[in-house]
């Protein structure tokens, strides 16, 4: 019994992992995520490396000097943490107090000749109009937006200096404020936004994987049915062994994929020393690391058992569509409920949906993940998991019966009374 199930699961796993589709999906998705999240800032960093030779043109030397000081000042910690790339650019700054049109034309020419990288045109006139000009060859360089802030800071400093404040006074007046968010328990996430998106991301991964791999189980069964290999298999293995083997094999493929995705994301972001990985440290707690696999596995087995039964019932994917939708409904409903729960995890709807087995995997996990104050009674979590296990067992028996008869039925799609009859056959 165990041996056959293992052989069937292993075949399913190896055949799937070897397909091109699996390899592409496994490496393309993280690459895409990487491309969308990490690459822009990485590119920005690259481009900002090295130094730039600028000229600051101002009506008086003091203004020009203040701007130079700000440009050459080492980046503050807070800026570093946010990964602000411009901070790492070194500026080589010349001052120019000749603000005539002819000088501007000459500087323009130097930029064209690449003798200069840029000119900050901050004359009294420009400052009075609140509008400085930055002349540069690559006008689309995102880093140069940082220059606007740098010049702004210099101008604030100039205004305060002219009011007669000392350097120390100015320093403390301009110091940016930090904010820390904590829950009443005192612990809490360092950054609620990051916490929110982490939970959201994990739930989405769970949802997508359960749905995708559930449908894969269905396809695997259907594939075996249409290739007519069922009877060959049935001469040594039982229908139950085949069904469980399929679910385990396909499930293991899903787990492999998720594992590769998480670890590559971890390595990529960790390797780059990105702030994100540091921030996640406080968010992905032991609790999440424990309950994510629990609810993920329960959810997957629950749904793929139903998908396996569908695969056994029908003869083609077209026929499967309606039934497929029926099974996916509670999963989709979970996501809709989640939108509410993410805003307020303490409603009665949240409680009931986290106990009802078909919505429990997604909803209970989300509740646990968002529960900063440990307010979910342990019995609710236990009940949710217990009910899931009971439901899975019941569905296995039920779907196992449908499966056993269905895999040998070719031709027309069975009607509901027929399926009821299959279930009643001992």
């Amino acid at each position: 019994m165990m041996h056959n199930t293992f052989l069937i699961a292993r075949r399913e796993y190896l055949e799937r992992v070897r397909t091109r589709a699996f390899v592409i999906m496994t490496f393309l998705i993280p690459l895409l995520m990487f491309g969308l999240t990490v690459l822009p800032s990485l590119i920005a960093m690259r481009m900002s490396g090295g130094s730039k030779h600028l000229v600051v043109a101002a009506t008086d030397r003091q203004t020009a000097d203040l701007i130079r000081q700000q440009l050459q000042k080492p980046p503050e910690d807070s800026q570093k943490a946010q990964g602000r790339a411009s901070a790492s650019t070194k500026y080589d700054v010349d001052l120019d107090t000749d603000v005539t049109d002819s000088e501007r034309a000459a500087l323009n020419e130097k930029i064209k000749q690449k003798q200069l990288d840029g000119v900050i045109w901050a004359t009294d006139e420009a400052l009075a109009a609140n509008k400085i000009t930055y002349i540069t060859r690559d006008v689309s360089n995102l880093n140069d937006f940082g220059i606007q802030q740098i010049v702004s800071r210099a101008i604030h400093r100039r205004a305060l200096l002219r009011k007669g404040l000392s350097d120390a006074e100015i320093e403390s007046a301009l110091k940016p404020m930090d904010m820390e968010i904590v829950s009443p328990m005192g612990t809490g996430a360092k950054n609620p936004l990051v916490a929110f998106f982490t939970v959201f991301g994990m739930v989405m991964v769970m949802y997508m994987t359960v749905l995708l791999y559930g449908i894969n189980v269905m396809r695997a069964v259907l594939d075996e049915k249409t290739s007519r290999i069922m009877e060959v298999m049935l001469s040594t293995a039982t229908a139950k062994e085949m069904m469980i083997g399929k679910i385990l094999g396909v499930g293991a493929v899903g787990l492999t994929q998720v594992a590769i995705w998480t670890s590559t994301t971890g390595i990529l972001s960790g390797g780059l020393g990105l702030a994100a990985s540091g921030m996640l440290k406080g968010v992905i707690s032991f609790k999440l690391a424990l309950f994510f696999p629990v609810f993920f596995l329960l959810g997957f087995v629950l749904y793929s058992t139903m998908y396996a039964a569908i695969g056994a019932m029908v003869n083609s994917e077209q026929e499967a569509q309606q039934l497929q939708f029926l099974v996916a409904m509670p999963l989709i409903a979970s996501v809709i409920i989640l939108v509410q729960i993410l805003q307020n995890p303490t409603t009665p709807l949240a409680t009931w949906a986290s106990i009802f087995p078909l919505t429990a995997p997604l909803v209970m996990f989300t509740r646990i993940a968002l529960d900063q104050t440990q307010s979910i009674p342990a019995w609710q979590i236990a009940l949710s998991i217990g009910l899931l296990l009971v439901t899975i067992y019941g569905l296995m028996v039920l779907c196992g019966r449908i499966y056993r008869i269905g895999i040998l039925m070719y031709g027309k799609k069975p009607t509901l009374p027929e399926i009821m009859k299959w279930i009643r056959y001992a």
Binding site: M230, T236, L408
Partner: protein, 300 residues
């Protein structure tokens, strides 16, 4: 020892009796034909033998003891519905099926290689099934059923869809297996094949056994009162002829079953009067004729 023994086996689907009180047994080393028209209950019977379904009543013994799943490792089954994993490589596929029958991977690999060499498809072992021609897929299917050196081989319509070359190849393999003392069960409605290979048979119709026994004995039961006539001219004399019980017109010749006690000599005279006779032969009834008769009588 009886390799398989069915005792009053019955299977119902809803109100429909698929197999009714069926009993037969196959001696070890015997080649047995399970015959019947489409829908007679042949596949239902086989499915019960190998535990895909359970009989509603009756007893099935395999290798001398009540059916148990472990016995299946000694059974090779070629189902009527042929099928292989299309995207799987031949070698991987055969090893997988061998392992399911209790072989270890190395032994399965070895057996697959030698079978593929014997059937001259060893060059294709690393190809996927979908890249193979139909004929080659059929060979792989046979190998899948025989790989684990089963003692009891069940073949459901083995010659269905085979080209003549593969059919001859399969027949040779079968004869070889018979020589090795394997027990073989054929299920088919192709009588000519059974006549060539089987020692004994059972004809079922609508779930009931209508004829069974040793092939020679069954044929002799029907006596030498069959006549094959090849002639040119009008064949109307056969209709409403008191000498003729039934006849089958095969186009090139007519096979006539004489009425009880009728003299074939009289028929010869009658035929000679009406047409030119090129052949007139007294013979045992063919299995096909017996089949048509028993099944026809059963249907009436």
């Amino acid at each position: 020892m009886q390799t398989i023994e069915l005792n009053k086996v019955r299977k119902m689907y809803d109100q429909f009796v698929a197999v009714n009180e069926l009993s037969f047994s196959i001696e070890q080393g015997g080649v047995f034909g399970l015959l019947g028209p489409n829908g007679a209950g042949k596949t239902s019977t086989i499915r019960m033998m190998i535990g895909i379904t359970a009989p509603d009543s009756g007893q099935i013994n395999m290798f001398g003891k009540p059916f148990e799943r472990k016995s299946l490792q000694k059974v090779g089954y070629l189902p009527e519905e042929r099928g292989l994993y299309k995207k799987m490589k031949i070698m991987d596929q055969l090893v997988f099926l061998g392992e399911l029958h209790g072989m270890d991977a190395a032994a399965a690999r070895q057996a697959a290689l030698s079978w593929c060499k014997r059937l001259e498809i060893d060059a294709w072992l690393q190809k996927k099934v979908e890249e193979l021609s139909k004929g080659m897929q059929q060979k792989i299917q046979f190998i899948a059923a025989l790989l684990h050196d089963p003692d009891f081989i069940i073949m459901d319509e083995p010659f269905f869809g085979l080209d003549p070359v593969n059919a001859a190849l399969l027949k040779d393999v079968m004869l070889d297996l018979k020589k090795q003392g394997k027990t073989i069960l054929f299920s088919t409605h192709r009588m000519d094949q059974v006549e060539k290979l089987c020692d004994s048979l059972c004809v079922i119709n609508k779930g009931n056994a209508v004829l069974q026994g040793d092939l020679k004995e069954v044929k002799s039961r029907y006596g030498k009162n069959n006549v094959q006539i090849q002639y040119e001219g009008d064949g109307a004399f056969l209709d409403n002829n008191p000498l003729v019980a039934t006849y089958n017109n095969y186009g090139n010749y007519v096979e006539v079953r004489m009425a009880p006690g009728a003299d074939p000599q009289k028929l010869l005279h009658m035929v000679a009067e009406k047409s030119r006779v090129s052949r007139f032969e007294l013979m045992e009834p063919s299995l096909e004729e017996i089949f048509i008769e028993v099944v026809g009588k059963n249907d009436a």
